[in-house]
Amino acid sequence: MKRVISIALILCLFPVALFAGGAQERVDAPTVVDVWTRNRHDKDLMVNQVEQFNQTIGKEKGIEINYQIYGDDFIDIYTIAFQSGSGPDIMNLDESIAEGVNKGVIQPLTSFDTEDWVGAFPFNVDINNVTSYGGEVYSIPQFAFTMRMVYNKDLFAACGLDPEQPPRTYEDVVAYARTITEASNGKKFGVALPFKWGEGFWAWAGTYTIGGGFGRKEFDYRNGKFDFSTLKPYTAMVKQLKDENSLFPGAEGLDNDTARAQFAEGNVGMMFAVSWDVAVFNDQFPVKIDMGITEVPVPEATGFKYKSELVSEGEWWLGSGIESAKEDAVWEVYKWLNSDEIVAMKYEAAKNIPVNPTIAAEATAPDVMGFAEFSDVTNNTVYPVVPSVSVEGDTYDIIFYNAVAGQYSIDEAVEKANAAYNAALQRAVADNEIDLADFQIPDYSPALAQ
């Protein structure tokens, strides 16, 4: 009998002991926060930082970051993961914010941010259709691309131009290019513009900065319609460069790599460049010249009145369906990923350019040729988003190229582009594809340059 009672007691106590042990286990086990990224350029830095977090703050607060780096098919990976209920807690987003919200893969920061952490950022984080959607903020625009003009100081000096006086206006660009081309006997040329690359690159760095002169791009935010007249001076400059043979020969067959290689070799006087070209001119096509970097010129008529464009997007996003038990830990990690410490560290390692100019000013500038010049965002700002429309016929880059090639006048190009894009906008509004209120800003006033 005693034996039976003993066995019964053991059987009764066993689950209790088991659960007691389990409860003890759960208290000790850290909360795992899954962070998924497609960023490979800062892999070593971030893996190291995550490890340090897990050993220090993580141990103290019971949080462990599971940092996973994925490849080019990142969007498919996280889409399938969310469909099967195993998506990450924090992630990069490889599609537009509207698509992310409609697919249900991201959620706003609002319900997590009980202390107005978002409101404390010293720059505008609420960029409609970029980091915010439907009036709610989903991400912080921490990093940016900037545009500059790079120029060949050696060639400037050889052609009698002052290497310390880079062009400030489109008129300067035309005059300097003419001087360089004429002085080089057909061996070196004023400007390289790769018309071949996607038919649109020629418009990229140059046209992204037209805001410096006009305070807006090709969209009239106040009236909610496209107005390409801002592209007229830029197109006129390119046409004059082409007509005077100051462009590097065969622009139509020139892709961006060839253009950059020719610049690095010293055969080109000036080029429009994006911040990622710093890596290109240091590693891919190391420049054999003394390279100068300056703000992209503006039309003489407008001057550099406004801040020019800074291309930025949200870095980290909260995945949908985070378990309520994990919310505090996820928010802790989210804030850490967006902390000044991490942003400054990425800047010092020359991995990213911070949107907040204070961080670059206070951090140690990386010892990478050209990075500091591209990182000064004092006179750059993120512009409101221009609606993306499905235009019929030629896109604006081709329309304006044809004006450069002399198929029709630049005024006609403006009319054609306005007609095509506004018709597409009207169709999108009629189809409820676009809500004009998301893009129209009746009291829009651009940020003035300092």
Partner: protein
Amino acid sequence: MILPSFLGLIIFSVYTIGYVLALSFTRRIGGQTVFIGFDHYVRLFTRDPNYWTAVANTFIISGKLLIELPLALILAVLLNRKMRSANVFRVIIFMPYILSAVIIGLIFSFLFASYEGIVNNLLMDMHLITTPINWFGTRAHALAVIIIASVWQCVGINMVFFLTALQSISPELYESAAIDGAGTRTQFFHITLPMLKRMTKVITLLAIIGTLKSADLALVLTNGAPGGRSENMMTFVFKYFFSQGARAPQIGYSAAAGTVSALIIGLITIAYLLLTRKEDSV
């Protein structure tokens, strides 16, 4: 027994063609696929001259067959002789065909570059031109470069087809003709050409279809430059399907353009077969 093949046909042909056809009647609006009837086709036929320029370019580029096929035949006849280095030449001529279109595009980009390009330098050394030609600056020049590169790429495979056909002709025919006093020219026109007729029909058909649906070489070589005027049917479809330059993808419209392009290729193929069938029966 035939089930695996049948399944393959259903999955990779019937289903995919049906899917593209279905896509051509839709448009993505606000993340939803919406049925829009024949709108894309109406746009294609009434409001998009760029597509018809691309179709015209495709036919102009197809004109390369007038050079490529006779050249392939001549090379095949020459290399079908018992020559010491025939195999070396065969390999050299065939080699471009196994190169990637990307490599060929790069080679010809460098050859026809305006700055220090080999072709321009050669023409200038021969005093045929005084200033370098901008080979990608006009539609005519850009199409000419595509044609030259494409002939260089494809002449080898057509030469191999002709060689195979030539080697199937019985040598006794030539021996008999020689005994009867027929010279090389007579043998070529009265034995070789008639014996190659059936094979020539197949080679021509394959070359026409291959040329009409070619996209890769043009994309690498000109990417539509200047200003989209060297696009062909397939690069047009490609650029509307994927985001290119300042254009956002328009998948439904691309599917409609793809369907019409497939119909054009199909119609040309049928026309060619009908024409040559009539000839066969003569």
